[in-house]
Symmetry: none
Subunit: 149 residues, 2 copies
DNA sequence: AATCGAGTGGGCAAAGGTGGGGAGTAATGG
DNA sequence: CCATTACTCCCCACCTTTGCCCACTCGATT
């Protein structure tokens, strides 16, 4: 099972092109895929899926979508799927980020591409550091006491 | 099951390369693995996993990290996966430490690599001696009455 | 004494990240 | 229906960084 990990600092160029880490492209090639799937994600980031993981989503195998409130689930899925695009890296390994996704994630110049297990995520650098201070550090401390790791 | 033990003093060179103890590399070879997995650890160190242990951690979709609060769980998993890297020792047995992990662990020049059972840990020398004074000794006293060893 | 393994440093070629030109295509408006 | 504009894709080019390789030192062992 392909796992996406690691953190990479890139920049979004004036043409809204964004580099994809070579490792991820390797994984893509291993799956014999040509394109990733990019869409809006939670907490103001973008999700980048490998074809295999994307298929799983469509098949309903990933439980990330199952909500008790089915109406909310539908609303969420509408945004999620309507904003999704198939993105194929160019010869330099860059993908094109649509304007509306750029806005969703508040992307400026400095951008982070990082693994999140079954997907990768794209973050505006500033937004990530804010999120990390506010959310990640507390969650980490909370888990530290209870997890034997 | 392979255990990692022992303590080794190394230095982080200007190119952020760090030696891995030959014993650990032997163990890696025994597992027919080529790479370790390096990620951020608790109390400001780095964790170095053998492939087998890494797999074990992932098995079951990281159930040990599942929290009732999915927002917090996402936050934790984001840190965990995004800061993890696959590191392959070069011909001299050194691995490359990414900048963000170097910062997480506050690594300067003098670095400690030490076994911790199912993983190894990487510490900044100064940080370790502080931690030892502050935490290890008191923890020893705390458990002395209940540990039969 | 010589050899071997280990830790460290540095040179250099290759790869990776970034920028921009220009042709082709689609969307917009007169 | 045509003209203009915006956007996308495909090149090519530069430069920094990375990773690979060789080399030196030191201590231990034979």
């Amino acid at each position: 099972m392909a796992l996406l990990i690691g953190r990479y600092d890139y920049s979004l160029d004036p043409k809204n092109r964004l580099a994809v880490p070579p490792k991820y492209r390797e994984t893509l090639a291993l799956e014999k895929g040509r394109s990733f799937y990019l869409t809006s994600g939670m907490e103001g980031c973008l999700y980048l899926f490998l074809p295999s993981q994307w298929e799983k989503l469509l098949a309903g195998d990933l439980k990330m979508f199952s909500l008790p409130d089915k109406e909310a689930e539908r609303a969420f899925k509408r945004k999620f799927f309507s904003e999704a695009v198939e993105v194929e890296p160019d010869a330099q390994g860059r993908i094109l980020v649509p304007q509306y996704l750029k806005e969703h994630a508040g992307l400026r110049f400095d951008v982070l591409v990082q693994g999140a297990g079954n997907r990768a995520e794209v973050w505006d650098a500033k937004r990530w550091s804010d999120y990390e201070k506010k959310m990640v550090a507390p969650a980490y401390k909370k888990i530290a006491k209870s997890v034997e790791l």
